[in-house]
């Protein structure tokens, strides 16, 4: 019961209230760059979700049981980024060998993920927020979901925007940013206090 409440708290918190893209500004480059087509959004989003869950698990273990144990916290950034880069490589190789169809779909997005702020961001946030292992994994997964969610909405809107009559200077990226702003406004209106109903008294 406790775990379920915690799961709900983190999920709703990361997807709707502190959305990674729209309120924490993590992973904006792919959000603007890749969100033109729905297919590529699904590929990118799923790849990010996969890597984020895996990396928040691995980085948490490494931080807790290696870095903190030997008082090497200052090597955090170097370790995290190397772990993420290695993980992305590993996933790429494994996918290529085991699931070629999935690799064909996700492959081109995988190299982009190493430099996606959301992946390193979630690892850092897990430590900053004092999460435990369960929380970190849920946070990583739901962070990926929130990224996919925001990208999905954005892509559907942008596909429609192609056919609308926009002032010329606003065509392309500027109108995408304005749209993102309106979406962020909707997410911003969520009362963050709502999460406190999940915290057991």
């Amino acid at each position: 019961m406790d775990l379920l409440l915690r799961f709900l708290e983190i999920s709703i918190g990361t997807i709707f209230i502190n959305n990674f893209v729209l309120s924490k500004f993590l992973g904006l480059c792919p959000f603007i760059g890749v969100s033109k087509k729905l297919d590529s959004v699904l590929g990118m989003g799923l790849a990010v979700m996969f890597v984020m869950t895996l990396s928040s698990f691995v980085t948490f273990i490494i931080y807790k049981y290696v870095l903190e144990k030997f008082a090497l916290e200052y090597l955090r950034i170097v370790t995290f980024i190397l772990v993420i880069a290695a993980l992305v490589q590993l996933v790429e190789i494994i996918l290529k060998k085991i699931m070629p169809p999935l690799y064909d779909a996700l492959g081109i997005y995988l190299p982009l993920i190493t430099t996606n702020c959301a992946v390193l961001g979630v690892a850092e946030l897990n430590i900053n927020l004092g999460y435990n292992l369960f929380d970190s994994i849920v946070h990583g997964f739901m962070g990926g979901v929130s990224f996919l969610f925001a990208m999905f909405i954005m892509a559907t809107i942008r596909e429609k925007l192609e056919f609308s009559d926009i002032p010329k200077p606003f065509k392309g990226v500027p109108i995408a940013f304005i749209t993102a702003g309106l979406m962020a406004l909707a997410f911003f209106a969520a009362d963050k206090n709502i999460l406190s109903i999940f915290v057991q008294k």
Binding site: L22, S23, K24, F25, L26, G27, L28, C29, I32, G33, Y74, L75, R76, I77, V78, F80, I81, L82, A85, T114, T115, N116, C117, V119, L120, G121, E124, L125, N128, P167, K168, P169, F170, K171, G172, V173, P174, I175, A176, F177, I178, A180, G181, L182, A184, L185, F187, F188
Partner: protein, 234 residues
């Protein structure tokens, strides 16, 4: 002699290209996350700009020096190690000497590692050119990045809060604009009645405002770009 002038010119060109023509965050659209996330106040914008520029300059120098030593096959991990160490050094120095700023910037200091500008410059420039050119390139790019952060944060802070807040650097009070009260209201007395003339557009200082401001700036840039292109055709 002419060779030296030519070299100086090319150095100057490396420096200036980053400021306007290839401005990393407003023209090439790299490093968007910090551009939007930390520009809630001018102080934060400048702090982020300087931190990222410092990392960019150091890593550009280092990679340019080591370009023959780093094996081609593992260059990306090597660059990442170099960049991440400089980021850690900058983070530790910030925590020690400007603790409030480090606290406000939060995770965006470690996230300088994945700022595409830095890895991009290492890969596209520093590993081919000599040290002097790399320094000029980094200085230009860093300045361009800082200036665009400054532009966005100025719009957001002045119109959003109607004040300029340098408290993170140890300044005691916020600077309020002369006619505006501390609650960021502009109140005009007319025939003995107080009329609220302007109240800060707080949404600009919050997350949605960042998207609106950068969208508008990019639209203005596009407008001028298309105007210049038209002229060339005529």
């Amino acid at each position: 002699m002419s060779n030296m002038i030519k070299q100086e010119n090319s150095l100057l060109k490396e420096f200036t290209k980053g400021i306007i023509k290839e401005n990393p965050s407003l023209i090439i659209l790299l490093g968007l996350c910090p551009t939007l996330a930390v520009t809630t106040s001018i102080a934060n914008g400048i702090g982020m700009g300087i931190a990222a520029s410092a990392v960019l300059i150091c890593s550009n120098i280092m990679i340019s020096l080591l370009k023959n030593y780093i094996p081609e096959q593992v260059r990306i991990p090597a660059y990442i190690v170099v960049i991440a160490s400089f980021v850690t050094i900058v983070e530790m120095l910030m925590k020690a000497y400007v603790p409030l700023l480090a606290k406000t910037l939060g995770i965006f200091v470690p996230l300088i590692v994945v700022n595409c500008i830095i890895l991009g410059r290492a890969e596209a420039f520093a590993n081919k050119k000599n040290v002097l050119e790399s320094i000029m390139d980094a200085l230009g790019m860093g300045l361009g990045f800082t200036l665009s952060l400054l532009l966005i944060s100025m719009i957001r802070e002045i119109f959003g809060y109607c004040w300029i807040d340098f408290r993170n650097y140890g300044v005691k009070e916020v600077l309020t604009l002369p006619v505006i009260t501390k609650d960021s209201e502009l109140i005009i007395e007319l025939f003995g009645k107080k009329i609220e003339f302007y109240k800060g557009i707080f949404v600009l200082a919050m997350a949605p405002g960042a998207f609106f401001v950068i969208g508008l700036i990019l639209a203005v840039i596009n407008y001028f770009k298309s105007k210049f292109e038209d002229k060339e055709i005529l």
